[in-house]
């Protein structure tokens, strides 16, 4: 037997080589890239159930489900209002078209695209719903997840205050129905502050600094750098709180004309939401702007008491209407359409849910006839079939995390 050829020498070295390779890049097979995770039982089932229950409620309100693709051409996904997501979007080169394609970081804009292109001839108002996963380059400090599930509804082609009230009430109804306690909706007017700043002639860097201070509710900075707008902005900021109190406080402030009209619209929408959802807790924050960059009217954020982060957000925007540059010629823009809608984030929604006990799970020992299983499943049981005979069915049921075992044709608690 030759023991010293080059092949033998290599084989003798091989185990060590592999060992050191593992040590070198220390990539454990279970390690996932930052912000990504496996969802295991029972969470994966609960998440899927929750999404379907939410979608069913949206469906009952006439919101028809659409399913846009995961990736699109960068030029259409990040066009117009989509530009706000530029830094959050993963891109790759499409080897077929040799153009940049982008993975969606948000689904709202895909729905707006569908509404203003393929469904442009569908009657208005158009109600669409969707559920899917989005991917972001960076999570936020509070939501480090880079892949997040979204569930949402968009109401396209109506400027009526009833449309604004409908989407807020619908989001609340859906979350109530799946059992989120302590729901609270914070309404805001993202264009109020810009209108005020414009009316007072504050612009450029000064306006930016003021917006940043308002985002942090930094009363000291507003007073220090607000100049002519300090009193009005300070007053608006202090007014934030429960809806009725805030509306009364805002009305006591002498706002410019454009701002008055917005407050009137908000007042009407609050009334209409109350009609539809009398028990919903409503707050108003007249200066909130963060994350509402492409919104053009009443917008909202959904919270639940003692839950970290937002459950969802939504508001009024304009679908279509911007010109698209496709590299060859500017296409005529579709008619701009007043729209509103909301997106729920499934991770936060799940965090807010209280879970009941697991459904009962019964072990069907080896040899149980097929019909028994069919009957039990029809009655709501989860059945786990024994594939081989075992000595102790009760112990086997315990090992496989079954709450029950079938004894004499009856599920018996373990």
């Amino acid at each position: 037997m030759a023991r010293s050829g080059p092949l033998e020498a290599f084989l003798a070295r091989e185990p060590q080589t592999r060992y050191f390779r593992l040590m070198d890049d220390t990539l454990h097979p279970a390690l996932l890239p930052h912000g990504l995770r496996d969802i295991l039982p029972p969470d994966a089932r609960i998440e899927a159930d929750t999404v379907e229950r939410l979608m069913a409620i949206l469906g009952h309100h006439g919101y028809d489900r659409v399913k846009p693709p995961l990736v699109e051409f960068e030029s259409s996904l990040l066009d117009g209002p989509g530009a706000a997501m530029t830094h959050e979007t993963f891109r790759l080169m499409d080897p077929i078209s040799h153009r940049m394609i982008a993975v969606r970081a948000d689904m709202t804009l895909q729905i707006a695209r569908i509404a203003t292109t393929r469904l442009v001839k569908s009657p208005r108002p158009l109600r669409l719903s969707y559920a899917g996963q989005v991917l972001r380059v960076r999570g936020s400090q509070l939501r480090p997840e880079r892949q997040v599930g979204q569930v949402g509804a968009e109401l396209i082609g109506s400027a009526a205050p009833e449309a604004d009230a409908e989407v807020v009430a619908l989001a609340a109804e859906a979350l109530n129905a799946i059992g989120v306690p302590g729901l609270s909706v914070d309404l805001t007017l993202p264009v109020l502050v810009p209108v005020i700043l414009q009316a007072l002639g504050v612009e450029g860097r000064a306006a930016e600094q003021l917006r940043a201070a308002l985002d942090r509710k930094d009363a000291a900075s507003i007073a220090a750098i607000g100049g002519p707008s300090a009193e009005m902005l300070g007053g608006l900021m202090a007014a934030a709180g429960p809806a009725d109190r805030t509306l009364a406080a805002i009305k006591a402030i002498a706002l410019p004309d454009g701002a008055q009209a917005q407050v009137a619209a908000l007042t009407e929408i609050v009334r209409l939401i109350r009609e539809r959802a009398p028990d919903l807790m409503l707050t108003i924050d007249p200066v909130e702007n963060r994350g509402f960059e492409y919104h053009t009217g009443v917008s909202f954020t959904i919270f639940a008491r003692n839950i970290r982060g937002e459950l969802g957000r939504g508001g009024r925007y304009v679908a279509g209407g911007h010109q698209t540059e496709d590299g060859y010629a500017k296409r005529a823009a579709p008619e701009p359409q007043p729209s509103t809608g909301f997106t729920l984030y499934s991770d936060t929604v799940l965090r807010a849910l209280k879970f009941g006990p697991q459904p009962p799970r019964v072990l069907l020992p080896h040899g149980t006839d097929h019909a028994t299983g069919v009957e039990l499943r029809a009655a709501g049981w989860i059945t786990v079939a024994g594939l081989e005979p075992v000595a102790d069915d009760v112990a086997e049921a315990g090992r496989l995390a079954c709450s029950h075992v079938l004894i004499d044709g009856k599920p018996t608690e373990v």
Partner: protein, 221 residues
């Protein structure tokens, strides 16, 4: 995970705490006696008000607890708030305590010979790398930050770097170490901070606390 129903107020350990406790007393809050015992290992304390607890943590951690909603209210300097820029923190009230400023400092000969317009890169020792980077970036200079957790003044002395960015109260520490203030970056004071979802979902309770602190600040003035 669900948060606490009991409101939690996070207070910073150290220098600011001495000024904060009398202010708390003016808002009607008295903390259990264990709080004053510096050797106590207890971290969470009851108050005379049912439904309000107090925790004592490092000043940087006050912001973290409040940002994540583990504490609903807190007291933190705007140096900490600027460094972290947590989107979930509101800072609705200047408590007008713990006043100082954040400055760039260095040895006096630097001030005399340096020509800031020629800088493209500076090396700075600081506890505030984010603020420092942003500050120098606004003037087109890249700042390489050496993160230290204290005794910043040693860095120029021992040749770690020429400049530091740190809080300056009276300037006596700088002077004692042969450094001078070169530029002021920001005025610093302690702020009442609030977790954003807490303010949205419990506006009456949290709003009441903001008003109480406001009254306590006005009393002091």
């Amino acid at each position: 995970m669900r948060g606490n129903e009991t409101l939690v107020l996070a207070l910073p350990k150290g220098r600011i705490l001495k000024q904060v406790v009398p202010m708390l007393a003016r808002t009607g809050v008295e903390i259990e006696p264990e709080f004053d015992d510096e050797n106590s290992r207890q971290l969470r304390f009851k108050t005379n008000i049912a439904g309000l607890d107090v925790i004592r943590v490092r000043n940087f951690d006050v912001a973290t607890f409040v940002a994540f909603g583990a504490a609903h209210l807190g007291i933190a300097g705007n140096d900490v708030l600027m460094e972290f820029a947590y989107p979930e923190i509101y800072a609705p009230l200047d408590l007008k305590v713990g006043q100082c400023h954040m400055s760039v400092a260095g040895p006096p000969h630097l001030l005399a010979t340096d020509e800031p317009t020629r800088w493209s890169h500076v090396r700075v020792a600081t506890k505030y790398p984010e603020i420092t980077k942003r500050y120098f970036a606004t003037r087109g200079v890249q700042a390489e930050c050496i993160k230290l957790n204290g005794a910043m003044e040693l860095a120029p002395l021992l040749g770690l770097c020429k400049r530091i960015v740190d809080l300056v109260q009276t300037g006596s520490t700088l002077k004692a170490n042969g450094l001078v203030e070169i530029e002021r970056i920001a005025e610093i004071s302690s702020r009442l901070i609030v977790n954003r979802p807490a303010l949205k979902t419990r506006p009456d309770e949290i709003g009441e606390w903001i008003r109480r602190f406001e009254a306590a600040v006005d009393d002091a003035a």
